[in-house]
């Protein structure tokens, strides 16, 4: 059981990044997007609509604090005073609890807009696999949401589910994807997608003498199936892009893509920041149109 592990395998490494080619001092407009999700928080700083810096960390049990930490972490090493920020939008679960935000917009709108930025304007279907929900979003050429679906009262096929699983198998979450392919042949996917029962099932498989990697493979494909039912319900239109933490999990994504017979779009950006990017871009647009904060 998770609680007995000394190491917390589900913990992914927190990160921050700063664009070396940009001097914020030269920027006309500085905008910020802060995404306080149920599991992770990101802050994105943009200078004139360019991605200048971001941070990605775990959400604590207090959202204002998490927002604050994310922003500080994002501004770390930039010497940018917070007063320089022209406009800030909060999004995600804790969006209304972001103290420095001028307004809030839902993660659905922000992820569509963010995906449009980091993947390019061709994107029409965005799959965001977040901590506790899974969204399939259809958007137009401007990154505006046309319609969307979210998973119902069930966390099967969410980032959180994968974390619980990584813990159970004592496999660092970042290795899950890789290791799920280190199997002689693709095993049957676990029948139960319920996080709790998949755990029971996996335990049973291990007791039956399955290899850990085989169990990982089985769970990854079960999760892929689960996510597919959601995107099939909304209908897949090319181009197809994936945001959120799970986008980093080859184990699920490649199985999912194989099943729906599509190539996912590629990006070098951290897919977890899509929401915050969208929020920062909305901020930028508002300031440009003079809708920004009265100074």
């Amino acid at each position: 059981m998770a609680e007995e592990n000394t190491q917390e395998y589900w913990r992914w490494t927190e990160s921050h990044w700063k664009n070396p080619d940009i001097r914020w001092e030269d920027a006309k407009i500085v905008t910020v997007g802060i995404d306080v999700g149920s599991v992770s928080s990101q802050a994105v700083v943009m200078t004139d609509g360019q991605l200048y810096a971001y941070s990605n960390m775990r959400t604590g049990s207090d959202s204002p604090e998490s927002a604050r930490n994310a922003l500080n972490f994002g501004l770390e090493g930039t010497n940018m005073p917070e007063s320089r920020i022209d406009y800030c939008i909060g999004t995600g679960y804790g969006r209304v609890n972001v103290p420095m935000a001028d307004r809030s917009i839902t993660e659905i709108a922000c992820h569509a807009r963010g995906a449009h930025f980091i993947y390019g304007p061709e994107v029409r279907t965005v799959l965001d696999v977040g901590g506790q929900d899974c969204k399939a979003i259809r958007c137009d050429e401007k990154g505006k949401v046309v319609n969307f679906l979210m998973n119902d009262k069930c966390a099967a096929g969410t980032g959180r589910g994968m974390e619980v699983f990584a813990d159970l198998l004592s496999v660092p979450i970042i290795d899950v994807g890789e290791r799920s392919f280190q199997v002689k042949e693709e095993p049957e996917s676990v029948s139960s997608t319920c996080v709790v029962y998949a755990k029971t099932e996996a335990t049973g498989l291990l007791r039956k003498g399955w290899q850990v990697n085989e169990v990982l493979a089985a769970y990854c494909s079960a999760m892929a199936h689960r996510i597919i039912t959601l995107i099939e319900r909304i209908g897949i239109e090319k181009e197809f892009a994936i945001t959120g933490g799970l986008a980093k999990n080859r184990g699920v994504i490649e199985r999912l893509m194989k099943e729906i017979g599509l190539e996912p779009m590629h990006t070098d950006w951290d897919t977890q920041i899509a929401g915050a990017v969208g929020a920062a871009l909305f901020s930028y647009a508002l300031v440009q149109k003079g809708k920004g904060r009265k100074k």
Binding site: S191, T229, E232, R233
Partner: protein, 437 residues
Amino acid sequence: MAQYPTEPLKCWPKAKELRNKFYENYKQAHEKGGIRCMGSAWALDAVTMGLGRDVYWITGEPYGASCAFDSPLSADFLTAAENFGFSRDLCSYMRNYWGSIIVGKYAFGGPLPKADFAYTQHICCSHGKWYQNACELEGGDVPLYVIDVGVGACPPFEPEMYKHRVKYVADQMLDSIEWMEKITGRTYNDELFFEACWNDMRLTHTWAKICMLNRAVPAPLDEKSIYSLYVFAALQKSSAAFAEFYEELLEEVEDRVKRGIAAVENEQARVMTDTQPPWGFLKIYRYLETWGLVSIGSLYTFGLEGMWVYDEDRNDLRPRPMPPEKPKSREEACRMLADWHLSKPEYQHFYSPEYKTEMMDAIAKNWRCDAIIMHYNRGCEGLSVGIAENRLGLLERGNKVMTYEGNMGDETEFDLPSTETRFDIFLESLGLKKQEA
């Protein structure tokens, strides 16, 4: 361990042949210049027979069950229905049926033949909606007629079978006849209707007589076989061929009883069940046999397609006697058929669970059951109505009752290992011993 002689039913080959022919006929209806009709297994199909001997039926419930037998196919159908926007908790026969239309596949090979019209009845929330949506999914050009039979319980559960209730159902039948003439352009033949009407009553009467024979120890029929036999009443009650088949079956089963032929050679104890089984997992009946258990049937297999009279004073069921003579007028035939069907045991629980509890208790006592195993069927709202009250009522009446959850037509809602564990716990508490094979 064997203590009784057993042997397979002689009529098996004929049963298989009749069933296959039925589904073939529906496919080839148009080549024969005939008419295709879709509707519920509960529908009053006899009324459509006045259009001619070449009206070929498909009934949604048995068809949905046939889909459920083929799990990959069923999975496709259920997914298609869900992707269209239908909720996963709707009737699983219905979802298989809609899925079959959406995917365009016939469970018996080839594309799904399109019905010329739909003719059904409405007792549960879904019956009318089922074919309303089926017609829409078929392109919106399939005409639909639904007969509402939700008029309340029959005696002894109501003071009387009020005339106006029978009339309401009969009048809808009369209206449907004019409607059918309009949409098919055929002239309606009352003689054929009277004949079909009589076949319906003959068949459902005979089925009840066959079920009566299962009171014998050892039971000549086990429920797994009963499922494959009772289905004819679900396919087409008005079929002369099916009515004759039941009469032959009746003779064979009488003979088995005379000769003490058992369905389960090691019959130690007897149970009855409730509601449709999880069709993809009929092996649970074989599992029960390893405990020396025979399932003698259920209110579902006895009372959905068999016609009975419930005797309150003796707490017993007996086959409802046939009317003295065949109907002579269209009105009389409609009234007769309405009155006959409104006494269907499986209609009564829709008005109060107590009625069903009493009839189930009567079966448990008179068919000498040691226990009752109830399937809490997530797939059928109609037969699960009041089922929890039935359980309480049967316990009160001193029966041993066990329940398990599942779904008749969606295998993702059935868990075989945990169900077998339940059986073990329950049967052990009855003092039975598992017999090592």
